[in-house]
Symmetry: C2
Amino acid sequence: MRASVFIATSLDGFIAREDGALDWLPPGGGEEHGYTAFIASVDAVVMGRNTYETVLSFDTWPFAAALPVVVLTTRPLTQAPPRGALVEAMAGTPQEIVARLAQRGMKHIYVDGGITVQRFLAAGLIQRMTITRIPVLLGRGIPLFGPIGHDIRFTHLATRSYTGGMVTSEYLILGAPTD
Amino acid sequence: MRASVFIATSLDGFIAREDGALDWLPPGGGEEHGYTAFIASVDAVVMGRNTYETVLSFDTWPFAAALPVVVLTTRPLTQAPPRGALVEAMAGTPQEIVARLAQRGMKHIYVDGGITVQRFLAAGLIQRMTITRIPVLLGRGIPLFGPIGHDIRFTHLATRSYTGGMVTSEYLILGAPTD
């Protein structure tokens, strides 16, 4: 089982404003910067409850109807997913979530949202991160990264920049298990 | 008068560990990534007291002897600069510092250190930022950016990556005055 992150941040490292707003992202997510190929490669999306609620507020459900979305929460989901969306609430440690999804035959999961990314990183369960820097400072917001107990070294694979000013860097995480 | 920033950060946005340590930077600053041309273009370096004390702890003074270094502090400097180094303590707002250095005929200053960069950015006095991302998460440390009262949009000029995994992006700051 592999787990990847594919996420945009402001130059000061925020993935959303404090209230979850994404108005500072380029319209429509900006130029195609690898997301289409990435999302086609994953078997499920794993996100926290806050990210799920932000996604629900979008005009349209951003995932293919057949793509399972796992929402990490200890409480039942109160907001129903859109018709046809495959959404499941799950609780547990990152290790438990990965084990459960691997048992279902999943090989590649997309980990999304600040707290969830931080928990999976701390557990050593992320193998690849694609970070797109949007050329704006927000000053405050929900950070992508948080405190960790030790340095985590990444290996840079590739960086591409786009005419809108987005810079997308792809990293492997050294030492993270790949199976 | 123009002011530029040329700085390295961890992927989680820190310019030093909490105690100021820079041990996570590549040895010798890593591959040449534009610093030589940049430092030759500046008339002075402006930094806060904390950054100055970190610089003093280096084995060698990292600036040309003839390059003035302005240390922003309201207290006298207690640690003497190395023989031959041009160091001056100065107090005032970013506007006052820029005006004073412009009066001396300076045309381009290098603003360095987290708090000082944040103060000059908030004052709209930085025109160019070159940010080099080192492929490591530190988890905690001294942040490059801090709270600001409003979004600041940047224009991406160029990004280059280096075999050691460093990614250097150069930005102009929209709306910042250039004279």
